[in-house]
Subunit: 140 residues, 2 copies
DNA sequence: GTAATACTTGACTATTTTAGTCGGGTATAT
DNA sequence: ATATACCCGACTAAAATAGTCAAGTATTAC
C-alpha cells in the first residue's frame, strides 16, 4: 500500500502555500524551489487542483496560484479526489452488490476491504489543510 | 492508494482455510478452485506465510496447509508483514528523524504521513482472521 | 510594444512495480 | 511406483508511476 507522489506533492505544495498571505499569488517556481518538486510536475498537479476549484490562477508576471478557499475548509479528501487518487482495496466490482467476480455471493473478504476503504477515507475527510500548519516542531 | 493482490489473496485464502476443521490440511488446489486464485500464485504466497509461522505445511498425498495458530490470534497485520506489504506514505527516509531529503527540517507534511501510516496499521493490528468469519451475510 | 514571467495543455517516455507464469525440483501417502 | 502436493528461484508481460518535452497563451513591468 503506497501513497503516490502526485497526491503527496499536492498536499505539500498546498500546505506550503497556506503559510503565506492568502491572496498573494504564489508561483510554482517558488514552490518548486522550496519543496524540491519538479516544476513541470507541479504544473501538471496544479492544473488538476484548479479544475477542481481548490486553487485559482493568476497569469503573467508576479502571477501564480492562490488558494480559492480558507485552508480550514479544504479537506485532504478533496485534494486526493482532485488527483483521481482513490483508495482501492477491492478487486471485485463494487457495484455488483450481491456477487463478486461472477460468483453468486460476495467474496469472503469483501466487507473487510470495504470497511478499510471507509476507514482510510475517513482520515482524509477529517483533516484540513489548516490542520497541517498547527504542528509545532515544523520548520520549513 | 491501492492494496495489492498478494496480500488480498493471502487474507482470502487464510479466511477460506479457517472455515474448515483446523487440523485438516487444506490443499492449495482446493483454495485455488474455491477462491479463483491462480494455484502457482498461491504457492508463492504460502511460502511466505509459512516462513512467517502463520501456516505449516504437510507434504505428500492429502497434504496441504494448516493454520499454525488459532484464527483468533492471527492478526491481519502479521499477514501483511509476511508478504512484505508495508504501508508506505512517506517519500523521505523515516530514520532521518530531523531532516528530510537532505534538508535541515522535516518536510512540511512528514508528520501527516506518519500519522496516516500509524492509523492504517492500527486497522490491521486490530483485526484477526476470526473477525472475518463472524460476518452474517457471507456465503462463500 | 516588447520582454519576461508564469500559467496551459497534450503527448511522450523511462523506470518501477505488479501480477503473475515457468521449470524443475522434493517429500509422503497409498 | 506413482500420484499428489509442497518447494523455490528465475523469469516476464503488462500496467502504473513519475516524471519530461514542446509548443503554446495571458499578463505585467519597463
Amino acid at each position: 500500500m503506497k501513497l503516490n507522489t502526485k497526491s503527496r506533492y499536492a498536499v505539500m505544495a498546498l500546505a506550503d502555500m497556506s503559510k503565506f498571505p492568502l491572496n498573494d499569488p504564489i508561483s510554482l517556481r517558488d514552490i518548486s524551489l522550496r519543496q524540491s518538486i519538479s516544476l513541470l510536475y507541479l504544473e501538471q498537479i496544479f492544473l488538476k487542483l484548479k479544475k477542481n476549484d481548490i486553487v485559482k490562477s493568476v497569469r503573467g508576471t508576479n502571477g501564480g496560484y492562490v488558494l480559492k478557499r480558507d485552508p480550514k475548509s479544504i479537506k485532504l479528501s478533496e485534494i486526493f479526489q482532485a488527483l483521481d487518487q482513490k483508495v482501492k482495496t477491492v478487486g471485485c466490482k463494487k457495484e455488483s452488490k450481491k456477487g463478486c467476480n461472477g460468483k453468486l455471493a460476495k467474496c469472503i473478504t469483501h466487507e473487510l476491504w470495504d470497511e478499510l476503504e471507509v476507514y482510510i477515507n475517513n482520515f482524509f475527510e477529517n483533516k484540513s489543510l489548516n490542520d497541517l500548519l498547527i504542528n509545532k516542531n515544523r520548520i520549513n
